[in-house]
């Protein structure tokens, strides 16, 4: 009763508005903008303005930190390096490539004949060369996960997509079910694991149906239904549900590596065709979009072009009464100017009306503490932050907050409590240094 397990909270998914339309491919935008930033790493451009680039050519790297690289997603001419709006909410430098619509492929992109004989080392090297990062939202370079020294017995593919509104993973999986199974198998071989578990939401029967015909060929794959709650797509929640084990730092402690389903599909292409991470699925949805849908687009595409593909905004849209959200509605960021570009972590753009209302003060009902997936006490962290009491913040484990947004979601008084806890977390991090 007191130290109960996290049940999660049912949130109305609102996914139907996007789900009804199939995944559309939009592979030839006019210009793409490859951001020169990967998580917190700044990238060094490897091309000059005026260079001709081909699809899959390395355009920027950072070999000091985590050895990440990004690739050109269209063929054409590098026209400028300029600032663009990025899903982190800041303006970042990006390489502008003008599409020449000839789809020239780099020499490295060719079919691999020897996929079955690749060793673990080679498989991890392929992740590194293809610049595969987690497409779920964190954008962590995948090869770092697989270079672990821990003994891995299970690879979990996260196909849960617990954030409301988002359907890009759902569409991507149901369009390429066999690629997912193949990619998952390569992941399993890269980790020397014995089995793969694909975790999906229980109501998404279509995911199971799409994979059913291929399952006989992949006996090591197990489908694992997960309850329809938020945050069911959180790494730790899935690991706890699937393995009944828990961990403190990384899932590798429990002998598990978790990857997003879209990452697995991208990795399948990287192993079989040497295609690096140059495209990703994205949902354009929300009440403010005329005809919401999911797209498979090159990285660096302007979101405004995708919104045009959706028929644009609804007619009576007053931008100042709407949020333009990069990412899911629970953890995303409000972007002020609608000039966003698609980067590797952007799973959705949501245009959603703001509900205005008069809200009372915090009444201390404690619902935020009840729903917290890491058993924190948000109200106390907020008070400690307001007093700048760093020791108490440490005692309250403010650094453990995963910023899932549930405390603000559930708050009956509309208190911005997630924001306060996140600030407390920052203060603790700075204070300890």
């Amino acid at each position: 009763m007191i130290f109960q397990k996290v049940k999660g909270v049912f949130i109305d998914g609102k996914k139907d508005m996007c789900k009804k339309n199939p995944l559309k491919e939009y592979l030839s935008p006019k210009n793409v903008y490859i951001p020169l930033i990967q998580r917190a790493c700044k990238l060094e451009p490897q091309v000059q303005v005026g260079d001709e680039v081909k699809i899959g050519q390395v355009v920027a790297t950072n070999e000091q930190q985590m050895n990440v690289r990004v690739h050109a997603s269209v063929s054409g001419k590098v026209t400028a390096i300029k600032k663009v709006w990025h899903s982190s909410g800041k303006m970042v430098d990006a390489i502008e490539i003008e599409n020449n619509y000839q789809n020239q492929l780099a020499e490295t992109i060719k079919e691999n004949k020897n996929v079955d004989s690749l060793t673990r080392q080679e498989l991890i090297e392929k992740m590194e060369l293809a610049g595969i990062t987690g497409l779920g939202g964190a954008g962590f370079p995948t090869h770092i996960k697989y270079k672990t020294k821990a003994k891995i017995d299970t690879v979990i593919i996260n196909a849960v997509e617990c954030e409301p509104y988002l359907t890009c993973d759902y569409h991507f999986i149901t369009t390429y079910p066999e690629k997912l199974l193949k990619g998952a198998t390569y992941f399993m071989r890269a980790a020397n694991a014995q089995k793969v578990v694909i975790a999906y939401k229980i109501y998404n029967k279509q995911i199971r149906e799409a994979m059913q015909p291929f399952l006989a060929k992949y006996p090591h794959v197990e489908l694992f239904p997960i309850k329809n709650v938020y945050p069911a797509g959180w790494e730790k929640y899935i690991v706890e549900q699937v393995t009944k084990k828990t961990y403190n730092g990384l899932p590798a402690e429990a002998g598990v590596i978790v990857n997003n389903s879209a990452t697995a599909i991208t990795y399948c292409d990287a192993v079989e065709m040497n295609i690096p991470l140059i495209a990703r699925p994205i949902s354009i949805t929300g009440e403010g979009i005329k005809n919401p849908g999911s797209f498979y687009v090159p990285i660096g595409t302007k979101v405004s072009e995708l919104i045009e593909q959706c028929g644009g905004y609804i007619n009576e849209l007053d931008p100042l009464k709407y949020n333009y959200i990069a990412g899911g509605p629970m953890t995303g960021r409000a972007i002020l100017i609608d000039e966003l570009i698609v980067n590797d972590t952007l799973g959705a753009v949501i245009v959603k009306p703001i509900v205005e209302g008069l809200h009372p003060e915090c009444l201390g009902c404690g619902k935020c503490a009840d729903v917290c997936p890491v058993h924190l006490t948000p109200t106390e962290i907020k008070k400690a932050f307001e007093r700048k009491d760093i020791k108490l913040l440490g005692d309250l484990n403010a650094n453990k907050c995963v910023e899932c947004g549930l405390c603000s979601y559930i708050c009956p008084s509309h208190v911005e409590i997630t924001e306060a806890v996140a600030k407390g977390k920052d203060l603790l991090r700075k204070g300890v240094k």
């Binding site: 009763m1 009444l363 979601y409």
Partner: protein, 393 residues
């Protein structure tokens, strides 16, 4: 290109829906009071009217008395908003502020805590203490330290009890007319007789069934366990309160009273039941110990709060000289809401490692010491000090 509104994640809020939010919770709170109000009206008005002892207007009086309480606190908060905010004085502004201040609740609860025939000016005074001193001075809804209604009740109880008594306030309408009781509430009977004896404590009022139904003397809202249970059930189903706060509180009072009864020679279950059903234990358990603003926030804090509250209620009731003990213990515990919140917050995260274990030790240690002290004192009191007890009170 368009400029969009800013904001912070999450962009989806449960409180954006019409059927969820603090307003709905507080409305539920008032709805939960309805069975209690209706029973108070039935017992003090309708029943007596059917018996033919009062006229029609007198029948409506109990209902009016309770509603006047709610009206008074609303009015006072409105005046307070008018006086303190010189810029926004229009009717619309004040109405807006009142809509997120939930003004009628303290007044309604206050009226339910007072006995019938309390003079209206006493009610006005109590409502002033409750709303202005207890709530608005602290900063309004969400900032008050003491339960406003309880503060008003306590101040009136300590200062003007004589006035209420003189006006016939300890009786209920039916009792005044029937005049069959010794003129005291069940707990008054315990305080004046000092004996744990079924014939003295329960028999004059009928049986424990009457205690459960609420046809015994007492304040307007607190007598009927049944009506309160209905309210509590509704609040629990609507997820406004957690079921364990009332259960732990009532359970603590029940078990401690049972041990006290056993220590003084009567281990029957009637005594703890009597102890729980009489006075304001049930009413406080459902409507005041669960009041979100003035009680701890997290689950563990609520449990500790309820445990302490139970021990203090028994301590004040059987060891102290107060016949009631519920209100005093609640006001006393309200003070400790903030430290309990802090301690239990740390216990939740650190479990039993360094500061968490220390805080847990402090809380449980205090609890055990208090409980043992209460039992020893109360047990002695009723076995050794019976001859002196009547004289002391």
């Amino acid at each position: 290109m368009a400029r969009f509104a800013g904001g912070k994640a999450p962009f989806l809020r449960a409180s954006d829906e019409k059927d969820y939010g603090t307003k709905v919770m507080m409305l539920d709170f008032i709805i939960a009071l309805v069975p209690v109000i209706l029973f108070a009206w039935y017992k003090n008005g309708i029943q007596v009217y059917i018996d033919g002892n009062i006229n029609f207007l007198e029948m409506l009086y109990p209902l009016f008395f309770i509603l006047i309480g709610g009206l008074l606190s609303t009015l006072m908060e409105g005046i307070f908003f008018y006086v303190t905010d010189k810029e926004n004085r229009s009717f619309k502004d004040i109405k807006e502020k009142l809509s997120i201040s939930f003004a009628p609740i303290p007044g309604l609860i206050l009226a339910l805590l007072l006995p019938l025939y309390t003079p209206i000016w006493v009610l006005i005074f109590a409502a002033f203490i409750a709303t202005i001193i207890g709530k608005m001075i602290f900063g309004g809804f969400g900032h008050n330290i003491f339960n406003p209604a309880l503060l008003g009740y306590a101040v009136v109880g300590f200062t003007l009890m004589g006035v209420i008594n003189n006006a016939g306030g300890l009786f209920n309408a039916s009792e005044v007319i029937v005049d069959s009781y010794a003129g005291a509430t069940p707990l008054g009977a315990l305080a004046s007789s000092g004996q744990i004896n079924y014939d003295v404590l329960v028999a004059p009022y009928g049986s424990l069934w009457d205690f459960f139904l609420g046809t015994i003397p007492g304040a307007l809202g607190e007598t009927s366990v049944l009506a309160i249970l209905f309210g509590g059930l509704y609040l629990t189903i609507r997820k406004v309160i957690k079921w364990y706060t009332p259960v732990v509180y009532v359970g603590t009072v029940f078990i401690l009273s049972w041990i006290i009864g056993a220590l003084s020679g009567d281990a029957g279950l009637w005594f703890p039941a009597y102890s729980v059903f009489s006075g304001g234990v049930m009413f406080a358990a459902v409507f005041m110990a669960t009041e979100p603003v003035t009680t701890p926030t997290n689950i563990l804090g609520k449990v500790f709060f309820a445990l302490f509250l139970g021990v203090f209620t028994v301590l004040f009731r059987f060891v102290g000289s107060l016949p009631e003990g519920v209100g005093t213990s609640l006001i006393f515990m309200n003070i400790f809401t903030l430290p309990i919140d802090k301690f239990t917050g740390v216990i939740r995260t650190k479990r039993f490692s360094k500061p968490g274990g220390l805080y847990f030790g402090i809380l449980t240690g205090l609890l055990v010491v208090l409980a043992v002290y209460t039992l020893v004192k109360a047990g002695n009191m009723y076995t050794v000090c019976i001859p002196f007890l009547g004289w002391v009170i």
